[in-house]
Symmetry: C2
Subunit: 431 residues, 2 copies
């Protein structure tokens, strides 16, 4: 009889756990310094909550179950529905903007692939109740702040953004009906992922009119829609500017200027092919990829102005992103960013029995050190001094405390420096 | 349409999350300084793993499901089976003793009651591969180290311990058959939880022989089985000492002396009524309760020498405990131990637009502060100075940075002290 973890899940042995903590601690530290407060939701919810956000077909991608009370429940595949549920429940009591983050454990019933597991951790940053595109720019800043914190540079990862509002409006202006817009956006989303011919074929199917298709391709070629007037922008596509195009362009401009002011413009560039698969985005959207785009997205997000309403709340907009630990972990490893000291545990002190029969004093010293907030360990059994010092090294101890009759020797294990102190004095005041 | 969390689960709004983090951070800090390394397992496992440890009836207490691959899975109700699985998988590669901790999220399909929820967090401390009772004593020290770290005292919580090895051997010696020992232990476990008469009745049913019952009651009255010889101990019960009793008593003595040396003996006392419900304990067992015993157990644990073997590994023993967040949280709140500053968020700086049209400079200042590792926030929209300073206070900012044309004023919001600095200089070197 031998048991294993379920395929697509991970056992976190201490070395893997140190890596996970190194990433999640950075996410938390960055969130707090950017003014976000942490929240969390239960690991399972009513299945209906996920279906209300994503449609009933989401059930296929969930680990769902019926409990003994007959409730249809599911393990959360994302935290956004719970976020909307929680905010809706206290919408009048919560001061806005609501700036919240979370690092939930999520599960999806998918086939495991490189960068995609059945269980993973995802950093979520959201700002709710603030319409300014500066909030969107701030979210991008926060994502970059974390990537930089973990050692990545603008040469290694890039943020590509666009405006779903602008793209949708351009599609409408070239003749795509409102009902067809989602399908066309889905085709655009595929552009970077499929060969050019396959894309042309998909687009031809979604937009049968050749002139409309040409206009869309002209729009996709625009490098920077914010350095020009709305009329110029519309002219490049071959349509007329209207108030919606003007507003979307203005928001995009404010967003881009925010990135400049925050000092992260060099990490970011406009790319109309970015539309994000999820149907619920309504404004600026963005994705973070490694520069080679050899991996899946490191992060993705954008503005969602209808989600709270869809889940039974008021029409209050939000913006935010998710960044998973799996692709990020692969990227950090491939780029050699994992700190060497993550490999080994560390201790402040390893307390050694310096002569036989002193184990009781070793325990006293260990107890006193730990109570003083210092990390300390020891061997449960009497062992030769050399063996104990070897163990001290294996455990990554900075110093050894060698306990003899009435004296302790504190020895720095890297420099070799050592100092004797009376045991009684040490027990009274270890540091 | 209004969605709610499933009964027995919790939404962690930021104030509740700060409390949860305050507890779990203390657990982690204490674990590390006691020389434990963190690990984690997946949120779900094969149902068989839990059944192998606890018997097929455990399925009733689990949230279980069948995935699309036909696998029978369950959300983990405890982490110990996964711990044993993980250790077994690398038993020859892992240096011993294995000192590991975890703070898993766990779920049990129970009816929610005070102190018992369907989803909770549980600190787990385990030492595997070390037979010395000092390892058991160290685990108790670690539990107390955390309780003390969270502000509790020996007057508020108590550890009661006993030796399941000693109790089992005494039961055998008075004539309880090996097959009946678990049932009798289960009766002893109930003693503190039911009226005296009910206990007498249960015991009479489990041990029909009156003389054996009297001997058991004499054993339960022994205050301290370690201050006397094995013959004296046996004499108090009315049985003969044998090698197993001698060994169990010696282990108990070494354990108690370890508690003395670690400096925590005043938190602990022997109590033969403590047997722990779980069948898998084999040696010293213990429970932590509030002194009034008005709440459920805060923590419980002990030695388990067969678990790894039961789960397909070698016969390597372990010892450890679990401490849940729910009862502990209630106790800390009832005893007034929650730090006042958990109620509110905190920021190092709130950056204020000191005159109109400076929002771009506000963003620059915010970006520079955050990149320097300081927490900083601002208002997305231009607002009157007074309103911005009010927001700074609400957000718990230590200082305000008021940005004017080319100057920033850094104002300490508690003392009122303030200092002007040229903007360019501040952007170059904020601190």
């Amino acid at each position: 009889m031998s048991f294993q973890a379920v395929k697509g899940t991970r056992d976190f042995y201490p070395d893997a756990m140190r890596l996970r903590n190194w990433i999640t601690d950075a996410w938390r530290r960055v969130s707090l310094r950017n003014g976000f407060e942490e929240y969390d939701s239960p690991i399972f919810e009513y299945l209906d909550l996920f279906a209300a956000k994503s449609g009933p077909e989401i059930a296929e991608q969930l680990f769902s179950f019926t409990d003994r009370g007959g409730r249809n429940l599911a393990i959360r595949p994302e935290i956004t529905p719970a976020l909307a549920r929680m905010v809706n429940a206290r919408i009048n009591a919560l001061p806005r903007p609501i700036k919240w983050f979370s690092v939930p454990r999520l599960c999806r019933a998918e086939n495991p692939q490189k960068g995609r597991l059945r269980e993973f951790f995802q950093w979520n940053i959201d700002i709710i109740g603030e319409d300014s595109p500066l909030a969107d720019a701030e979210c991008v800043f926060v994502a970059i702040d974390a990537l930089r914190e973990l050692g990545l540079t603008a040469g290694e990862v890039a943020v590509r953004y666009s405006s779903r509002a602008l793209t949708s409006r351009v599609l409408a202006a070239v003749g795509v009906t409102a009902a067809d817009v989602p399908a066309v956006l889905a085709v655009l989303d595929k552009r970077a992922k499929v060969p050019e011919e396959a894309f042309a074929e998909m687009l031809a199917k979604a937009v049968p009119d050749g002139q409309a298709r040409q206009a869309i391709l002209r729009f996709l070629q625009i490098d920077n829609p914010t350095g020009i007037s709305a009329d110029q922008l519309a002219g490049l596509v071959g349509i007329q500017a209207d108030p919606e195009i003007v507003a979307a362009q203005r928001d995009l401009e404010r967003f881009a200027r925010g990135l400049e002011d925050f000092g992260v413009a060099d990490w970011c560039r406009y790319d109309a092919n970015v539309v994000r698969g999820l149907a619920y985005y309504t404004g600026i959207v963005y994705e973070v990829f490694d520069r080679d785009q050899s991996l899946r997205a490191v992060a993705g997000g954008g503005r969602y102005d209808n989600l709270l309403e869809v889940l039974g709340g008021p029409k209050v907009g939000g913006t935010g992103f998710g960044m998973g630990d799996v692709v990020l972990g692969i990227l950090l490893e491939e780029r050699g960013k994992l700190p060497a000291d993550l490999r080994n545990p560390r201790l402040d002190f390893f307390v050694v029995e310096g002569s036989q029969g002193q184990l009781d004093k070793v325990l006293k010293v260990v107890g006193v050190l730990r109570r003083a907030g210092l990390s300390a360990d020891f061997s449960y059994k009497s062992q030769p001094l050399g063996k104990q010092l070897k163990e001290a090294n294996r455990r990554g101890a900075a110093s050894a405390v060698i306990v003899k009759q009435d004296v302790v020797t504190v020895k720095n294990l890297s420099s070799g420096d050592q100092q004797d102190r009376p045991l009684a004095e040490f027990l009274d005041k270890p540091m």
